[in-house]
C-alpha cells in the first residue's frame, strides 16, 4: 500500500509525525509519570523526567481512601448496560430509518440529535425530583437508563449511517426467497451491520464512561462511578500533584486501554457516514 517515496522524505515525515504524536500525548504521559513520583519530586524544578525514585505510595494512598474497584465496577455496569440498552432500542429505529425512510425521517433524526443540545443542568432539578419519587437516586438502574437516553440519539444516528450503506437489493433478494423478517435480520442484516454495531457500541461505552454530570449528581455512595471517584481528588489540601496523577491514571486507564485495543473497530464507527 505504501506509495514509493524517497527514504529521506519518509524519515523526515516519520520524525514529524512522531513529534506531533508525542506532543499530543504528552499530558497523559506526564500524568502517568508523575503518579509514580513522591509529592516533593512531582514539583521539582527542573523536573526529573525518568530518573527519579519510582514509588507506588500514591496508588496505595488513593486505594486506601476510596474503593477503586467498586467505582470501576459501577462505571463498567453503567457504560455497558446503557450501551446495550441503547442498541436494543436503537437498532430497530435505525433499521426503519435506513430501509423504510419517509419524508420526515431526516427531521426525526435531527430532532433526536437536538435533544442532546440542552445543558443537562437546566433539567437537573426535574430529573432529580423524578428520580427521588421513583426511588432511582443512587441506583445503577436509574443511571443506566438515563445514560441510555442521553446516548440514544448518537446510537440511532450512527447505526442509521451504516445501515444506509447496506444495499437494499440484498434485502429484497432475501425477501424474495421467502425469508422471514426475523431471519432477514439475523442472517442478512446482522452480519453486514456487525462492524457498524461494534463500533457504535465502543463509541457509546466511551461516551457513557466519560460522562461526568449526571453520574456525579445523581449518585451518592452505592452507585458512584469513576467521575465521583475523581471528584474527591480535584483539590485536596496542600501538595497533591502526585496523588492527583495517580487518581487520574486510575480513572482513565481502563477506558484508554480498551480504546487502544479496539481502535480499529472504533475508527470504522467514527465515520458517521462521512465517508462515501
Amino acid at each position: 500500500m505504501a506509495r514509493a517515496i524517497p527514504t529521506r522524505r519518509r524519515w523526515l515525515l516519520s520524525l514529524l509525525a512522531w513529534a506531533v504524536g508525542l506532543i499530543i500525548f504528552f499530558p497523559i504521559l506526564w500524568t502517568v509519570l508523575t503518579s509514580f513520583k513522591t509529592e516533593g519530586e512531582a514539583i521539582a524544578a527542573p523536573p526529573h523526567i525518568l530518573f527519579f525514585h519510582w514509588t507506588l505510595e500514591n496508588y496505595a494512598e488513593v486505594q486506601q481512601r476510596s474503593n477503586y474497584i467498586e467505582h470501576v465496577t459501577n462505571s463498567v455496569v453503567i457504560a455497558l448496560g446503557s450501551t446495550l440498552l441503547a442498541l436494543l432500542i436503537g437498532v430497530p429505529a435505525a433499521w426503519a430509518a435506513a430501509f423504510a425512510p419517509t419524508r420526515r425521517t431526516k427531521d426525526l433524526l435531527m430532532w433526536m440529535l437536538s435533544t442532546k443540545m440542552m445543558p443537562p443542568v437546566g433539567v437537573l432539578v426535574p430529573i432529580y425530583l423524578l428520580f427521588r419519587d421513583w426511588g432511582l437516586l443512587d441506583t445503577l438502574t436509574g443511571l443506566t437508563v438515563l445514560m441510555m437516553l442521553v446516548n440514544l440519539p448518537i446510537v440511532v444516528w450512527m447505526l442509521y449511517t451504516y445501515f444506509r450503506e447496506i444495499p437494499a437489493d440484498i434485502l429484497e433478494a432475501a425477501r424474495m426467497d421467502g425469508a422471514r423478517l426475523f431471519n432477514e435480520i439475523v442472517h442478512v442484516l446482522a452480519p453486514m451491520a456487525a462492524p457498524g454495531i461494534a463500533s457504535t457500541m465502543l463509541l457509546n461505552i466511551i461516551l457513557a464512561w466519560n460522562e461526568a454530570f449526571w453520574t456525579l449528581n445523581l449518585t451518592a455512595a452505592k452507585a458512584a462511578p469513576l467521575s465521583a471517584f475523581i471528584a474527591s481528588y480535584s483539590s485536596p489540601e496542600g501538595l497533591f500533584w502526585a496523588k492527583l496523577s495517580a487518581a487520574s491514571t486510575m480513572a482513565i486507564a481502563p477506558i484508554l486501554i480498551l480504546g487502544w485495543f479496539s481502535q480499529r473497530q472504533l475508527v470504522r464507527g467514527l465515520t458517521f457516514g462521512a465517508v462515501k
Binding site: 481512601r65 452505592k222 474527591s232 485536596p236
Partner: protein
C-alpha cells in the same frame, strides 16, 4: 465475543441486584485532610458499634455542597450524616431540615468553644456538632523576615504587611512576599476579602439591606489588596484558593499567607511542608479597626431530618466530634494533627499546647471573631463575619468574587469591579425582595 458479552451482562445484572446492606450510614464529607483522617480512623467506630456500617461520600467542597443541598432541599434522604459549615446551619435549621442534636451527657456540650457553638445553634438548640473550627491568621516565614531585617509586630497592620511583602519578594528566586486568595467564590476570595474589608470598617449590607460596595471602605480594602498582589503576589493569583496557596506556601514560594488557622498544622508538618521549621504565626492584619478582621468557620456534622437512622447517626456524630476522638488522633498521628478549634479542654491540654505552637493564636482568633449583628464596627442586619447568613448570599458573593478576581487578573479596574459588584448585588437583593 458473544460469550464475553453474555458474561458481562450477567455480571451487570448481578451487581444491580446485589445485596442491600442493613444499618449502613451514608456519610457525606469534604476531602479536607482532617476528614480523610476521620475516614481512616473509622474502624474504631465500627469496633465500638458493631452492626453499624459506614458508607463514605468524599467530595471536593463545592461538589459536596451542591449534592448535599439538592438532597436536603428535595428531602431525598440519601444521606444520614452531612458535613456542612457555619453558613448553612442556621439557614437549614430554620427550614426544619436538620435534626436538633442530643448527644448525651458524656459528650459535654459545654466544652465547645462558645463562638463555634453559637454559630451552629438556632433558637438555642445545637443543630450540628463541630468537627473542626477555624478562624484566619497570618502565617509567615521567620527566615525570610530575618533576612530582610523585619520583625513581626504583635498586631500587624496592612501598612506593615504591604511594606514587608515588598521587602521579601525575590521573584528571581521564586519567592513572593504575599500569597492571598484570588479564586472567585463566596468561600474562597470573598471569605478573605470580606474580613479584609471588615478591618477597614466595611460591611456587606447597611440596615436597609443595601450593598455598600460604592463606599470608601470597600474601595480602600480592594485597592490595597490589588496593589499588594500585583506587586508582590505569585503569578496566577486569580486562580489561587486555599489549596493552591497551601501548596505554594508548603513549597516555600510565599513569604506571608493569610488564611485559615487549620493550615497551621499543615505548614508546620515536616512530612508535607518544605518550610516546616521556619513558620511564624501572627493575628490577621488590622486596617482602621481590628473588628472581625479574621473570620469564623467550622465544619460540622449534622443529621438531616430526612434520615431514617437518626439514633445510629447520632452515635457516629458523637464519636467523630467527641473528646475520645481527639485522644484517638493524638495516639495515632500525634497531638499536632488533632482537629482544632472546637473544644476548650483541648486548649487546656499541655500536651497539645506543646505540640502545636499555633494553638494559642488559633484560640485567640476564634475568640475574637463575632458573627453577631454588632460584630463589625458598624451595625449590620445579618449574622456572619465573612458571610451573610441568608440563602441568597452564596450566589451573590460568588458573582461579586468573580468581579474581584477579574480585577486581580487585570481584566477590569478596581472601580469598575466595585461598581459591577454594587449593581449585581442590588439587583439580586431587589429580586429576592430584601430591597423594596
Amino acid at each position: 465475543m458473544r460469550r464475553t458479552l453474555a458474561a458481562l451482562v450477567g455480571t451487570a445484572a448481578l451487581v444491580i441486584a446485589g445485596p442491600s446492606l442493613a444499618d449502613t450510614l451514608t456519610i457525606a464529607t469534604v476531602n479536607n485532610g482532617d476528614m480523610i483522617r476521620m475516614q481512616r480512623l473509622a474502624d474504631d467506630f465500627r469496633q465500638k458499634n458493631p452492626g453499624i456500617d459506614l458508607n463514605w461520600v468524599t467530595l471536593e467542597e463545592n461538589a459536596l455542597r451542591e449534592k448535599v443541598t439538592t438532597d436536603i432541599a428535595t428531602k431525598a434522604g440519601q444521606y444520614d450524616v452531612l458535613t456542612i459549615g457555619t453558613y448553612e446551619v442556621p439557614i437549614w435549621a430554620k427550614q426544619g431540615w436538620l435534626t436538633p442534636l442530643d448527644l448525651g451527657s458524656a459528650y459535654d456540650v459545654g466544652d465547645l468553644l462558645p463562638p463555634i457553638r453559637s454559630g451552629l445553634s438556632y433558637d438555642g438548640k445545637l443543630y450540628a456538632a463541630p468537627f473542626y473550627g477555624e478562624s484566619s491568621m497570618l502565617m509567615y516565614r521567620k527566615d525570610l523576615f530575618a533576612k530582610a531585617g523585619l520583625t513581626m509586630p504583635e498586631k500587624p497592620t496592612w501598612d506593615f504587611i504591604t511594606e514587608a511583602a515588598d521587602k521579601i519578594t525575590d521573584k528571581q528566586a521564586g519567592i513572593y512576599g504575599i500569597c492571598l486568595r484570588g479564586k472567585a467564590g463566596w468561600g474562597e476570595n470573598m471569605a478573605f476579602l470580606t474580613t479584609m474589608a471588615n478591618s477597614y470598617g466595611a460591611r456587606w449590607f447597611n440596615e436597609k439591606w443595601e450593598p455598600e460596595f460604592n463606599g470608601p471602605q470597600w474601595k480602600t480594602a480592594l485597592n490595597t489588596y490589588l496593589e499588594m498582589m500585583k506587586k508582590d503576589g505569585p503569578p496566577g493569583a486569580s486562580s489561587n484558593g486555599f489549596n493552591e496557596n497551601l501548596a505554594l506556601f508548603q513549597g516555600g514560594k510565599c513569604g506571608m499567607w493569610i488564611d485559615a488557622t487549620v493550615a497551621a498544622s499543615f505548614v508546620s508538618d515536616p512530612k508535607q511542608s518544605k518550610v516546616a521549621n521556619d513558620v511564624g504565626f501572627a493575628p490577621a492584619p488590622c486596617g482602621t479597626t481590628c473588628k472581625n478582621a479574621n473570620w469564623l468557620w467550622s465544619w460540622a456534622l449534622a443529621i438531616p431530618s430526612s434520615s431514617k437512622k437518626t439514633a445510629d447517626a447520632e452515635k457516629f456524630v458523637a464519636w467523630a466530634t467527641g473528646k475520645d476522638y481527639l485522644q484517638l488522633v493524638a495516639a495515632k498521628d500525634g497531638w499536632a494533627n488533632v482537629p482544632p478549634g472546637t473544644r476548650k479542654s483541648l486548649y487546656d491540654n499541655p500536651e497539645y499546647l506543646k505540640a502545636a505552637p499555633f494553638a494559642q493564636m488559633t484560640l485567640q482568633a476564634i475568640d475574637s471573631a463575632d458573627p453577631g449583628l454588632d460584630g463589625n464596627s458598624k451595625p449590620k442586619p445579618y449574622i456572619g463575619v465573612q458571610f451573610a447568613a441568608i440563602p441568597e448570599f452564596q450566589g451573590i458573593a460568588t458573582a461579586v468574587g468573580q468581579q474581584f478576581s477579574a480585577a486581580l487578573a487585570g481584566q477590569t479596574s478596581a472601580s469598575q469591579a466595585l461598581q459591577n459588584a454594587q449593581l449585581l448585588t442590588e439587583r439580586e437583593m431587589r429580586r429576592a425582595g430584601y430591597i423594596k
